[in-house]
């Protein structure tokens, strides 16, 4: 299938933003705060970050919020009344400034939410999202998308993929889905027809660092290895890696009660926390950090490929950038590949 490729002049990006706003679109874009870049509701184009390698947080928050109410309850004379959230209230959102690794991550995250149970709330939120991907013109030492089947100009997961053609250049826009077509139709002047422009020479170079198939095979025999202990000694057991990851989906359900009324809230959780697998009996099958670290790697690189046929990692490198103890997942995977089992 031929992808519809258009040219978007560099000054047209702001115009596109304004037109979308005039059409009452909610736009989540990357902004810098305290030196870190995260996605926020953008009221104006001014201040939107660009030229970064990667945002500090992923954009999964838009479909899988860090905290979301899933129902209200109320006790009265007749019993208990329960009110779910109204799917009609979920807004349409444009996610602006998503890197190809994050866009791929959307598919991987969705596979978890559609495995045996189809998560209606997640699916509804995601269906309202239009993804504006922006290819990578540069990478850093934490990136490894090419080692897990991705690349800096990957179109997977985006509705429109913008690639900057050189420093201060115009953008190649690849219109990939119907949602993308819908956007073009309200701003068609800005999406000019262009002669076929190759994007490869403008993309960042990301060398392949390990063979993910080899690692997957090795992991099958690696469960009892002492490597896990050595690798995880400096892990502090926080949730930073899980929370910034575009494909981590573990969540907790909390009931926030106020007397006879309350709400049930879904919020993020991390398998790295020491109490993550604590049973009410007091038994904890993963009571040592090495078991939790092993779980993280096995889940992403062995269990998910096996059961969901997708990788649990997009090589965005955020976990390693965010980790306070410098647990570098790329290094760990390379060392697993090098170890003889």
């Amino acid at each position: 299938m031929n992808i519809d490729k258009r040219l978007v002049r560099k000054d047209s990006l702001e115009k596109l933003f304004d037109i979308l706003k005039q059409n009452s679109k909610t736009i989540y874009a990357p902004f810098s705060k305290n030196g870190k870049i995260t996605f926020k509701n953008a009221e104006s184009f001014a201040g939107i970050s660009n030229g970064y390698v990667q945002t500090s947080e992923s954009s999964k928050d838009i479909a899988f919020p860090r905290a979301e109410k899933i129902l209200d309850y109320s006790k009265n004379k007749e019993g208990m009344s329960v009110k779910g959230i109204d799917i009609k209230d979920i807004p349409d959102v444009i996610l602006w400034g998503v890197r190809p690794c994050d866009a791929t991550g959307i598919g991987e995250l969705s596979s978890i939410f559609n495995w045996d149970y189809k998560d209606e709330i997640y699916n509804n939120r995601l269906s309202r999202v239009t993804v504006f991907g922006f290819s990578c013109n540069k990478s850093d030492e934490y990136c490894f998308c090419t080692s897990v089947g991705g690349n800096p100009g990957n179109t997977e997961g985006s509705d429109i993929l913008f690639t900057r053609l050189g420093v201060e250049g115009d953008f190649l826009a690849e219109i990939l889905t119907e949602k993308g077509v819908a956007v073009v139709s309200i701003a068609s002047d800005l999406f000019e027809k262009s002669e076929s422009q190759g994007k490869e020479k403008f993309l960042a170079e990301v060398k392949v660092r390990f063979n993910h198939e080899e690692i997957r095979e090795k992991l099958d025999k690696f469960f009892e290895s002492k490597e896990w202990i050595d690798q995880s000694l400096r892990c502090l057991g926080c949730g930073a890696c899980a929370y910034v990851c575009p494909t981590c989906a573990c969540f907790d359900i909390q009931d926030e009660a106020h007397g006879k009324n309350g709400s049930r809230v879904r919020c993020w959780d991390s398998c790295g926390f020491s109490h993550f697998t604590l049973h009410t009996s007091g038994h904890n099958p993963r009571d040592v950090q090495s078991q939790r670290w092993r779980q993280r790697i096995m889940h992403k690189f062995s269990y998910m490929p096996e059961r969901l046929s997708v990788y649990g990692c997009t090589g965005c490198g955020r976990c390693s950038r965010a980790c306070p103890a410098d647990m570098n997942i790329l290094e760990n995977l390379i060392s697993i590949q090098e170890v003889t089992v």
Binding site: N41, P65, K69, V265
Partner: protein, 149 residues
């Protein structure tokens, strides 16, 4: 429109202030009815988080009251409490919590009249300050369905 009636939560110690409040009643002194009293064995038992929970659940003002220094039924509970309140009140003020809405006092078992005064003064001042909307807005998370940070 009905005039705003503040909701006040009072954390009091059993041996002094609670007994003092009892005395207020047996002395037939009338005072404002806005206070909900929570009884503790000692002010030293009052956890920091309880004060924040009171605001969480809709209180507009808080009273914390116990035995006078040297009169604590457990000898030194109120001394520990005093030191904690010095630091916690400062921290709350630093984070922008309205510390004008938290009143601390020493009320002994014989000070029935003082208890009535404290309550009346607190209710009057909170009535003037109005409902604690800033905190309520943040605590009413369930009305806002989603948090994107």
């Amino acid at each position: 429109m009905a005039e705003f009636e503040p909701k006040i939560v009072a954390f009091v110690c059993n041996w002094c202030t609670y007994a003092g409040a009892d005395l207020t009643g047996t002395s037939r002194i009338k005072y404002a009815t806005n206070v909900r009293i929570v009884r503790f064995p000692c002010t030293g038992r009052i956890d920091y988080m309880l004060l924040l929970k009171a605001f969480d659940e809709g209180a507009d003002g808080i009273i914390v009251s116990g035995c006078h220094p040297n009169d604590c039924h457990y000898t030194s509970g109120n001394f520990h409490a005093r030191r904690r309140w010095i630091m916690f009140r400062s921290l709350c003020d630093f984070t922008g919590i309205d510390t004008k809405r938290i009143k601390f006092s020493w009320v002994s078992a014989a000070e029935g009249a003082k208890w009535a005064d404290i309550v009346n003064a607190t209710v009057t001042s909170i009535r003037e300050l109005g409902p604690y909307t800033e905190y309520k807005k943040v605590a009413k998370y369930p009305e806002k369905e989603v948090s994107h940070g």
